[in-house]
């Protein structure tokens, strides 16, 4: 049975925790709004880009001269996994769910006898993957210095990935991130970026004249397409992280509130019990006289 003083201290500390989680929730809410706006603003570019590339890929893709970024290297032996996570924790299952997806993917590839290489973006994913997949790491991108997620960041990552591709370090690249659905739901997603895959049939691209040529335009666009996809993923990830943190902190705040209520009841009961006990002692003392 904890003493009254212990209980009081305990209530005090839980109250402090609640203040902190509440503040974190509000900060996350503000950041989430900004992250969502950024993701929204980036959408027109990504959509036009995909539309044009889909159209082009449909007409050039089958030909012999298709660029390697589209047609692939003709092998899928060496797989690059780009795992994008947050730099910070305290955001519920956000990091873990991305890592779990990546780990399952890696395990499947390894079981098929393929070589797996991992590029981590964000500290948390690296820490979680280090133990069982550490020997597959080929690089890490640190985002802790990045104040605002801008396109140059994505370009940097894309350039790194493309350089490795040009040097023949891997055949297939897949990015892992969480797609933002809503504050309470972020969906871990795996998306293959190299060789590029396009869903469905594009608009009829033969309507257009291409300058310099279809192949030339495509060769120019594909690397940009990779950067755009990475950029979109980073933005989605940013919004997801804040959303996950917001709901995690909301839960924590609520739990702290419940705990305070429970502790307060316990505190009042023991206070009452102590008073009753003292009264009984005094009365029985008086009667004994």
């Amino acid at each position: 049975m904890p003493s009254l003083k212990d209980l009081k201290n305990r209530i005090g500390s839980v109250k402090n925790t609640r203040k902190i989680t509440k503040a974190m929730q509000m900060v996350a809410a503000a950041k989430l709004r900004r992250a969502q706006e950024a993701a929204e603003a980036a959408r027109p570019f990504a959509e036009r880009m995909t539309a044009v590339m889909t159209g082009l890929a449909g007409s050039v893709g089958s030909s012999e001269s298709a660029p390697r970024l589209l047609a692939g290297t003709g092998s899928d032996k060496v797989q690059l996994l780009v795992v994008m996570t947050a730099e910070r924790g305290l955001c519920g299952g956000f990091n873990s769910s991305i890592v779990r997806l990546a780990r399952a993917h890696a395990a499947k590839l390894l079981a098929e006898g393929k070589t797996v290489k991992i590029l981590t973006v964000g500290k948390k994913g690296r820490e979680q993957l280090r133990r069982d997949l550490g020997q597959h790491f080929i690089g890490h991108v640190d985002l802790s210095e990045v104040k605002r997620m801008g396109y140059p960041v994505a370009q940097g990552i894309a350039r790194d990935v493309l350089d490795r591709f040009d040097k023949g370090e891997f055949d297939v690249a897949t990015i892992f991130f969480a797609r933002f659905q809503s504050v309470i739901s972020q969906i871990p997603t795996a998306q293959q970026v190299i060789p590029a895959v396009f869903e469905g049939e594009g608009e009829v691209s033969s309507l257009y004249d291409y300058e310099p040529s279809e192949e030339g335009v495509l060769a120019d666009l594909l690397p940009r397409g990779v950067a755009t996809q990475i950029f979109t993923a980073l933005l989605e990830n940013g919004a997801s992280e804040q959303g996950a943190r917001m709901s995690a902190m909301d839960n924590a705040t609520r739990n702290a509130g419940d705990m305070i209520n429970r502790l307060t009841i316990q505190y009042n009961r023991s206070r009452q019990a102590a008073i009753t006990k003292e009264l009984i002692e005094i009365i029985s003392g008086a009667e004994a006289l």
């Binding site: 036009r48 044009v52 801008g150 004249d209 310099p212």
Partner: protein
């Protein structure tokens, strides 16, 4: 009054401009071209240069680096990797562009070297034309 076409300029981060323009001059890889209403559907890649759009409030000019433009009879959308309104284009911004292009030349693989050098030259030309 000549007809207009819908002009959109988007960078990966945001939409920079969207208005009805009577003519738009685009720095294509193979040379500048001007798009007006009724232009044949064309997709062209861009080289670093100045893009000019004749809009309701006069000529708007933007410095763009790589990307592409999609033109058809009623609209033109320019997707630029980086775009800056000319008024905001200062020596430092250009220097950044140039430094980046230089870096690209130094890391480029042999087969991409020509392209990277061309980009660098375009950047230098852009600088000269901006008069900084």
């Amino acid at each position: 009054m000549a007809g207009t076409l819908q002009f959109d300029l988007v960078s990966p981060e945001r939409r920079l401009a969207s208005f009805a323009a009577t003519e738009v001059q685009v720095p294509g890889t193979d040379g500048d071209m001007t798009a007006m209403e009724g232009h044949a559907p064309t997709i062209t890649t861009l080289r670093p240069g100045i893009l000019r759009a004749q809009g309701p409030s006069g000529v708007q000019a933007y410095a763009v680096t790589g990307g592409f433009a999609e033109i058809n009879a009623t609209s033109i959308s320019v997707l630029a990797e980086k775009a800056v309104a000319v008024e905001e284009l200062t020596g430092t911004v250009l220097d950044e562009f140039i430094a980046e292009a230089r870096e690209l030349v130094s890391v480029a693989l042999p087969e991409d070297k020509d392209m990277a050098e061309r980009t660098l030259n375009d950047m230098l030309a852009l600088r000269a034309s901006a008069g900084h």
